[in-house]
């Protein structure tokens, strides 16, 4: 079950990382569309915002899996693998799980009403704004799923 969840998260990250390419392209196109073509730059910006929201929502879990989160390792590198594993579990259980659960519950009315109405961008009336609000749920759900994978990992043996 946990292994399947782990594989599913890996596959999702692998697919969502490609959003970076259209994001770069759309944000680049804003300038020529605005100053040269004089058309559709707002549409490029809105679409770029949707890609950005979904990309960064998934990127947090990608960073956890890749181990790139900013951390000061000067003292902790001297700790045993068991201690480090326990610290990671404590951070996940007492920090990430309650936080992600709270975000899911507290944002429920906002996200559900936005999705139900297919909310459009307020400034341009372009469709798809609800996806930005939905990205908050994507982020929280992925953080929860990755935390489950971490908590289920077996305790490592100390190298003594």
């Amino acid at each position: 079950m946990i292994a399947r969840l782990d594989r599913m998260l890996g596959a999702t990250m692998g697919a969502m990382q490609w959003l970076a390419l259209p994001l770069v392209l759309l944000l680049f196109l804003q300038w020529p569309l605005r100053d040269l073509v004089r058309c559709c730059s707002r549409e490029a910006n809105d679409l770029g915002q949707i890609f950005f929201a979904l990309f960064v929502a998934a990127s947090i879990t990608a960073a956890t899996r890749a181990g790139t989160h900013l951390a000061a390792d000067a003292l902790a590198q001297h700790y045993s693998p068991r201690i480090r594993h326990m610290l990671r579990k404590a951070g996940a259980l007492f920090g990430l799980v309650p936080w992600a659960a709270f975000v899911l519950v507290a944002s429920k009315p906002t996200v559900l009403s936005s999705v139900a109405a297919f909310e459009a961008f307020p400034d341009t009336a372009n469709p798809g704004y609800f996806l930005i609000k939905l990205a908050v749920w994507v982020m929280a759900l992925m953080v929860l799923a990755q935390t489950l994978v971490l908590v289920a990992q077996p305790m490592p043996q100390d190298d003594v």
């Binding site: 970076a20 770069v24 300038w31 950005f52 989160h69 951390a71 000061a72 936080w99």
Partner: protein
């Protein structure tokens, strides 16, 4: 409960330094603890915490934050394409033949690539890879080599439009908005462009001074090998890259396009260069995008965690406490700024620039700006403090990164000795900007002013300022 916020801040510092957990996890855990304490004691009404999702949605739709993945993409592409190496070799061969040229070239490379690399950590890794082997081959001692890489890596903090500068601009905009609202002043709230312009002169001075010091230090070294040569392809690549970089940096500084657009242009150009040169094969691209996502996620999670943490601190009433503390600092504007900068400098022992910008700036800077109206001056002083604190022995972030990245790190004492001339120059510059605020207002027009004039303007002055802001069309010559 105001002091609970301070205790939480100390806990965060201790947690980051002592547990080795990601800073974002420590911040979220501290926020959870603070929220529980606040709700249990009745200080925080539970309903108020539901403001959090709204704040998170604001992050997802923030235009400026779109720069994050773009800068990360650029930095990683620069690392994978031979641009940095070509720039370093070309600069080395253009400078007069001297032992000082390799170190000075390293500084130039740091200033050019630093703003694109995203963070000090990324700059250290990139510059270590390009500079260290070349300097080593040129007979530069390990201590001087490591010091040069550390200093060059921090030049990007100050040179517009670096990611640090963009994110600080966003934080300063919020802080200034709070201060202007609270005081009722009719100042214009500063924006990214204001801070770019304000940083230009101090950044230029810092760059020139570092290059000169590197040249002098390098000139005293007996070289054991000839300089790395540059072939025509590398020269062409360096020339094209330099032109593109200067075009982007200049375009943003001059206001022709936004920082996000410039970053997107740079990333698109580098992607195209990678495809055309066939260096960006499918496996390389996939690995690049994996890294882009992982590094972007690290920065964004920090921002999400800091947003959660600062919300809880505010609800616990830390704003009032900091307001009173900053308001009670003696010594006028300069005294208040100096004390706040010292606190920021101390935070830099355990926090990265991004952590300081996301966590410390929103708490400390609004009350400072209530007292000190010149937001441009405060912004540049903050940047200089951040830059200098990265190099502060023994725990400066850049120092630790350089020593971690080096294959055989130099002994600590010679390393610190090699750093001292650069550090002394940065402190002098910091003192100069603190003493002479005009350094951040060079070339400022009336339309750029953010502060309300202290004395009433004459009708002629108002007329002149209006003409500056809205240039009148040329009159047609009489026929």
């Amino acid at each position: 409960m105001e002091w609970t916020g301070v205790v939480l801040l100390v806990l965060v510092g201790a947690g980051i330094a002592g547990t080795g957990l990601p800073a974002a996890v420590v911040l979220i855990t501290a926020a959870t603890l603070g929220a529980l304490l606040g709700v249990a004691s009745g200080t925080i009404p539970p309903a108020v915490l539901s403001a959090l999702p709204g704040r998170l949605i604001n992050l997802f739709e923030n235009d400026l934050l779109q720069a994050l993945p773009l800068y990360v993409t650029m930095g990683l592409l620069l690392d994978r394409l031979p641009v940095a190496d070509a720039l370093y070799r070309a600069c080395n061969s253009l400078l007069p033949r001297s032992s000082g040229a390799p170190l000075a070239s390293g500084m130039v490379l740091g200033a050019l690539l630093g703003p694109m690399n995203g963070s000090v950590g990324a700059s250290v890794l990139g510059l270590s890879r390009v500079m260290s082997p070349r300097l080593s081959a040129d007979g530069v001692p390990a201590a001087t080599r490591d010091a040069a890489v550390a200093v060059a890596s921090t030049l990007g903090v100050l040179v517009p439009p670096s990611l640090v500068l963009i994110l600080l601009s966003d934080a300063m905009l919020s802080a200034h908005t709070v201060a202007v609202t609270q005081t009722g002043r009719s100042d214009r709230v500063i924006n990214t462009q204001d801070i770019f312009h304000a940083a230009l002169v101090p950044a230029g001075i810092c760059f020139v001074v570092c290059v000169v010091i590197a040249w002098i230090v390098g000139s005293r070294i007996k070289r054991s090998h000839s300089a790395a040569s540059v072939n025509w392809q590398q020269g062409l690549l360096a020339g094209f890259s330099l032109a593109a970089l200067l075009l982007l940096l200049g375009g943003v500084a001059a206001g022709y396009f936004y920082a996000v657009e410039a970053a997107a242009m740079g990333a698109t150009a580098l992607l195209l260069a990678g495809f055309v040169s066939r260096r960006l094969t499918f496996p390389v691209l996939r690995s690049l995008l994996h890294d882009v996502m992982a590094i972007t996620g690290a920065l964004f999670f920090l921002l999400v965690a800091a947003t959660t943490f600062t919300l809880v601190l505010r609800l616990l009433g830390i704003d009032h406490l900091v307001d009173n503390l900053v308001g009670g600092i003696p010594g006028g504007d300069a005294g208040a700024v100096a004390v706040v900068l010292a606190v920021v400098g101390m935070c830099a022992f355990v926090l990265d620039a991004f952590e300081i910008i996301f966590v410390i700036v929103p708490i400390l800077i609004p009350p400072l700006l209530v007292r000190v109206a010149d937001a441009r001056w405060v912004s540049v002083l903050l940047l200089l403090t951040l830059q200098s604190s990265f190099l502060l022995p023994p725990f400066g972030y850049a120092l630790m990164m350089v020593r971690g990245a080096a294959k055989d790190p130099s002994p600590f004492r010679p390393f610190v000795r090699a750093l001292m001339p650069f550090l002394a120059a940065q402190w002098l510059l910091l003192a100069a900007v603190l003493a002479i605020p005009a350094l951040v207002h060079v070339g400022e027009r009336a339309s750029d002013l953010t502060r309300t004039p202290e004395k009433a303007l004459t009708p002629e002055e108002i007329d002149r300022q209006l003409r500056d802001m809205v240039p009148l069309p040329e009159l047609e010559p009489p026929r």
